[in-house]
Amino acid sequence: MGKVKIATVWLDGCSGCHMSFLDMDERLLTIADKIELVYSPLVDAKIFPENVDLTLVEGAVSNEDDLHKIKLVRSRTKLLMALGDCAVTSNVPGMRNYYSRDEILRCAYVENAAINQGIPTQVVPLLLPKVRPVHEYVKVDIFVPGCPPHADIIFDAIAALLEGRLPDLGNQARFG
């Protein structure tokens, strides 16, 4: 049997969920025989590949790049896991939803800047009006809350999926 193809992606989040993924520590090496990390901030793949078995998504959908990316990821992955509170609820990034895009950008690039005051518009992606959780745009198969979810939960979830079962996280995962 070939290795299970796993990807991790990171939208609008703090990378804490990716740190929790790495917090599996030596267990990373034990699952390394069974999985192939085909796309992730930790590897050099530049294109999200076809036929990914499992994708862990950290972060909320906040800008046009995030939206484009999550749709692409969904179309190329069998099982999608919303990893962590930002992916599941939009959490702290969603706190900007109380303000308009212009208000929030002006604060950073006009009020708190001394030179070239103005909102960046070249190359950078446009912010969406509101930050939303992943499942508002694409179907999510597994929700794993936590800020971040504990490494044991991530490991148990991956281990269950490698055995062909859906993980039962009812007693383990919690928000915050």
Binding site: W10, L22, D44, F48, R96
Partner: protein
């Protein structure tokens, strides 16, 4: 006609970004730009929040260095409360900060950059990652995982959680250190020191294989900023700001946190969400300076622990006349700081007062303004808050460590691209080297980032008006 090469996304860094390289008519590199494409908006959406919430909220800027944000933020809150925290609380905050330096530097060196250093800049990109390293150099990969785990586990043991703990609070820390936890940590330090020394002993001769990279990875004169104690020892938690020049001559010294705005201002570039702080007396963009491990070793007079001090002397010999200028040496500096942090942890945990139960001071706000500065793994971090009469945030300004390096990262990728990228014959290894310049700085772009590219190496041919004439891509 202008040709633009795009690297999107930059990989094996903490966050997403892209690089564009503009070629001239002859196909030579004219300029390279780093674009940070995520925007978070913390400065606005924290307005109106009770100031005591700021540590927990701003920690969410970064899951790699949440401890740094917790420290800068609680220091700003301490300032608003106008209190001096108990000595043991300050020592415990130092302990957790050193733990974070160990884990964050280990992540940068072993998990993200060692694939370039061990497998080679031109090696197969599909295997150029930590699991690829684990296959070929299992011992080194295990050492890296062990060191990162040591730091993360220390954080969990004393604070209850590896990422985003709630233990560091305005006024100190929420609960004291228990003796058995201290003993567990102390028992592990010797292995950490052994790994740090072994890795340094391996890395120092390896550096010679990278002379081309050393010469071109942001190797130019600049200012350096970092915290030092009043006697000039390196500082990571408290201390005063010092700026030195390329000759290691002190430009300004003993700057208290409340003077930062006299020396640092931020500029905006229209093609990046990351602002560019600059040293005000020199203006923009001449006031380019660097922060982080390389800067801290250039700025300080000494390290004050025996093994790290010895390493510093050897490090300084790289450039006996002045500051070590190549950003490639951030890697080396990072390893020395890991060793230093471990030695300091042993010292701090040996003090009987570290178990003191007096670890928190309580107060209402006594000032309308507070500034907290500490050294994050990546460099100087500044949190500046003003509050209203109800203790709610009226204005927040965060200057993130990675931001300070923005100008230097841009100048650095231009220098490396000019040397390695030939517009007529593009190679993956050349692009990887341009990305590797960014990896030296270990930027924490989640503190201000993002992007995605379906087309990794996309080449666009545009005319002078920016109209795309032709494009092609490689997988």
């Amino acid at each position: 006609m202008t040709q633009i090469l795009t690297i999107d996304p930059v990989t094996r860094i903490e966050g997403h970004s892209k690089i564009t390289i503009r070629l001239d008519d002859q196909g030579k590199v004219a300029v390279a730009r780093l674009h940070i494409t995520q925007f978070r908006g913390f400065e606005k959406f924290t307005e109106g929040r009770p100031f005591q919430e700021m540590p927990s909220l701003t920690a969410r800027t970064c899951g790699i260095c949440p401890i740094s944000h917790l420290l800068a933020s609680t220091k700003a809150c301490d300032d608003i409360m106008a209190i001096r925290i108990p000595t043991a609380a300050a020592s415990l905050r130092r302990v957790i900060n050193y733990a974070q330096i160990v884990q964050s530097h280990a992540l940068s060196f072993f998990h993200l950059s060692s694939p370039d250093l061990l497998l080679g800049m031109d090696s197969d990109p599909t295997l150029r990652h930590i699991l690829g390293v684990a296959e070929k150099f299992p011992e080194l990969a295990k050492d890296g995982i062990w060191l990162r785990k040591f730091g993360q586990q220390l954080i969990e043991r004393i604070s209850g959680k590896r990422v985003h703990p709630t233990w560091i609070v305005p006024g100190g820390v929420s609960h004291p250190l228990r003796a058995e936890v201290r003993d567990q940590i102390v028992a592990e330090i010797p292995q950490g020191i052994a790994i740090a020394r072994k890795t340094l002993a391996w890395f120092k001769p390896v550096i010679r294989n990278f002379q081309d990279e050393i010469d071109t990875f942001a190797n130019f004169p600049s200012l350096f900023l970092g915290l030092v104690s009043p006697d000039g020892t390196i500082e990571h938690y408290d201390g005063l700001m010092r700026v030195v020049d390329a000759q290691r001559k002190i430009v300004v010294d003993n700057l208290e946190s409340n003077t930062y705005a006299d020396y640092i201002a931020e500029a905006v570039e229209p093609d990046s969400y990351l602002k560019s702080p600059f040293f005000k007396p020199l203006g923009y963009p001449a006031g380019l300076y660097r922060v982080g491990p390389l800067a801290r070793l250039n700025v300080c007079d000494h390290l004050a622990t025996p093994l790290a001090e010895q390493e510093l002397a050897e490090f300084r010999a790289l450039q006996p006349e002045g500051a070590v200028l190549s950003s490639f040496h951030y890697h080396y500096a990072r390893l020395i700081e890991i060793l230093y942090a471990l030695e300091r942890l042993a010292e701090l945990l040996a003090m009987p007062e570290i178990l003191s139960t007096q670890v928190r001071a309580f107060a209402e706000p006594n000032k309308r303004e507070g500034i907290g500065i500490s050294e994050a793994p990546r460099g100087t971090l500044i949190h500046h808050y003003t509050i209203d009469e109800n203790g709610l945030i009226a204005r927040a300004n965060l200057i993130i460590a990675t931001g300070h390096n923005n100008l230097a990262m841009n100048q650095g990728i231009t220098q490396a691209a000019k040397h390695f990228v030939d517009g007529t014959k593009i190679t993956e290894g050349a692009f990887n080297r341009v990305e590797a310049v960014i990896r030296c700085y270990d930027p924490c772009l989640s503190c201000s980032t993002h992007a995605l590219g379906e087309m990794p190496l996309r080449i666009e041919l545009t005319d002078a008006a920016g109209q795309i004439l032709d494009s092609c891509e490689r997988g």
